[in-house]
Amino acid sequence: MYLVTLTDFLQQVVSGIASGGVYASLALALVLIYRAMDVANFAQGEMAMFSTFISYTLITSFNLPFYVVFPVTIAIAFAGGVVIERIMIRPFEGKSVITLVVVTLALFYLTNGMAGLIFGYILKSFPSPFSSAPISFGGIFVTVQDVGVLGVCLVILGLVYVFFRFTKVGLAMRAAALYPESSRLVGVRVSWMLALGWGLASAVGATAGMMIAPITFLDPYFMQPILLFAFAAAVLGGIESPLGAVIGGLTVGVLLALVGSYLPAGQNLRLPFALVIIVAVLLFRPAGFLGQATVRRV
């Protein structure tokens, strides 16, 4: 009896880590934009939803295999993110935080409405690129799906890390986000770096959408709870820390899986629980796990 419970528990943990990879990806998207603009992009989830619909269309209407659809969608999402920044955010660059929040909220409703108009509101089942066959790791069964989702998310997160850590443009994007004035003085086109950041965030978000859609089904609202989970992850990790977003994402994934399966009516408690995480972190440790209270010398 004890063993069964432990196995069950571990299985929940593993599948929580897999969804955690998805939350981590979307949380990273939020962090990327937050670092560059000091504003959470409330439309991040909706942009990911729209990208996922594009991939759905490519799969179902054009009969393309997933391994083609995945990179194509990411490229489209990247371009879309850049274009959205140029059109909707650029006119408001340097404006107050509240202005930018309103703009991202407008983008939220605009994207949601357009998705409804173009793709409809009927729930669609998104074909999974991975089988749901279980594989056993020493008595714990995990699905190929779980392993695949986590693997894809980790690869994308790793690529983002390598880009920021080891490329010249990645370095310039970091510098532009933290030190816009100094960066302009050495010739960095800071405004374009922001557009690139939006493209990157959108691409990472699209990965999250395509990975979670087979599990949740697809409609114009399907990313909204995921966005809340990603917010919880980003806040928990420290809203300015990319590594924090990943750790926060995996943690939130596990916690939500446990809440979902062990508390009575747990599935319905996941959203309120994510809100509790957000409020608790903001109250007791606003910098999260890895965020530093940044000291600004004036």
Partner: protein
């Protein structure tokens, strides 16, 4: 011929005018000092040159009128601006700060050569490349800021109060290096200072700003002998 020439340059912050028509010349290969009390408009003059503040009037640099250009484009013409407060990218490493200095350049071999040249002035940087810049002392950060500017291989170097907040001995080192950069590499330098003593010793010419206007100019020797300068800026 003057490498840099400002003609009746005006600049404002919102409705407050900070520069009321500043004119000055910086000859190629020279060091020129811009002196003046706090709030006189020295920083604003440098910011007007590098495009960080919107300016009207004429700013000629190496044959281009650069008034109103964006800082990104001004940097590409070969003007490196070490801002007041150093503009250290504190969360990045020393090496990353230097890399950012060479951001607009593509010529790898030349960048390498400029790195070696820069390290002649700041040999201590070599062994501390991987340190986060925030862990450097104020004087080291000022030197790093100048090193970062040199990585652009600039024709014109703008220095905004490099002595600010530093110990006298460090200030002396920094001014020696500034002079060496001018002497050995022929880099033209426009340096802003409140410390007129120091600046007049390094520079060939100087301009004195008062509330957004040039009120005095001349060779450093002339200005150092000028009665009102001695009273206002040299602490006599």
């Amino acid at each position: 011929m003057a490498l840099l020439e400002l003609n009746e340059v005006q600049a404002s912050y919102g409705s407050i005018r900070a520069l009321h028509g500043v004119s000055l010349k910086v000859e190629e290969g020279s060091i020129v000092a811009l002196l003046g009390a706090n709030g006189a408009g020295k920083t604003t003059t440098l910011r007007a040159i590098s495009g960080m503040v919107r300016a009207s009037g004429e700013i000629r640099f190496a044959g281009h009128d650069i008034a109103g250009r964006q800082p990104e484009d001004v940097a590409r013409l070969g003007i490196a601006h070490v801002p007041s407060g150093r503009g250290t990218m504190t969360q990045l490493t020393v090496w990353e700060n230097l890399q950012m200095g060479a951001y607009i350049r593509r010529d790898r071999d030349r960048i390498k050569a400029d790195y070696e040249r820069t390290m002649r002035y700041f040999p201590w940087i070599r062994s501390r490349k991987d340190q986060v810049a925030a862990t450097l002392s104020g004087g080291e950060q000022q030197m790093l800021a100048i090193a970062r500017a040199l990585m652009l291989n600039p024709k014109l170097l703008l220095l905004d109060e490099p002595s600010l907040g530093l110990a006298p001995i460090v200030i002396r080192d920094i001014f020696e290096i500034v002079k060496a950069i001018n002497r050995d590499d022929g880099t033209t330098i426009l340096v802003v200072e409140q410390n007129a003593n120091l600046a007049l010793r390094a520079a060939e010419r100087a301009y004195v700003l008062e509330v957004g206007r040039v009120t005095l100019s001349g060779s450093s020797a002339e200005l150092a002998g000028n009665e009102s300068i001695r009273k206002s800026y040299l602490g006599d």
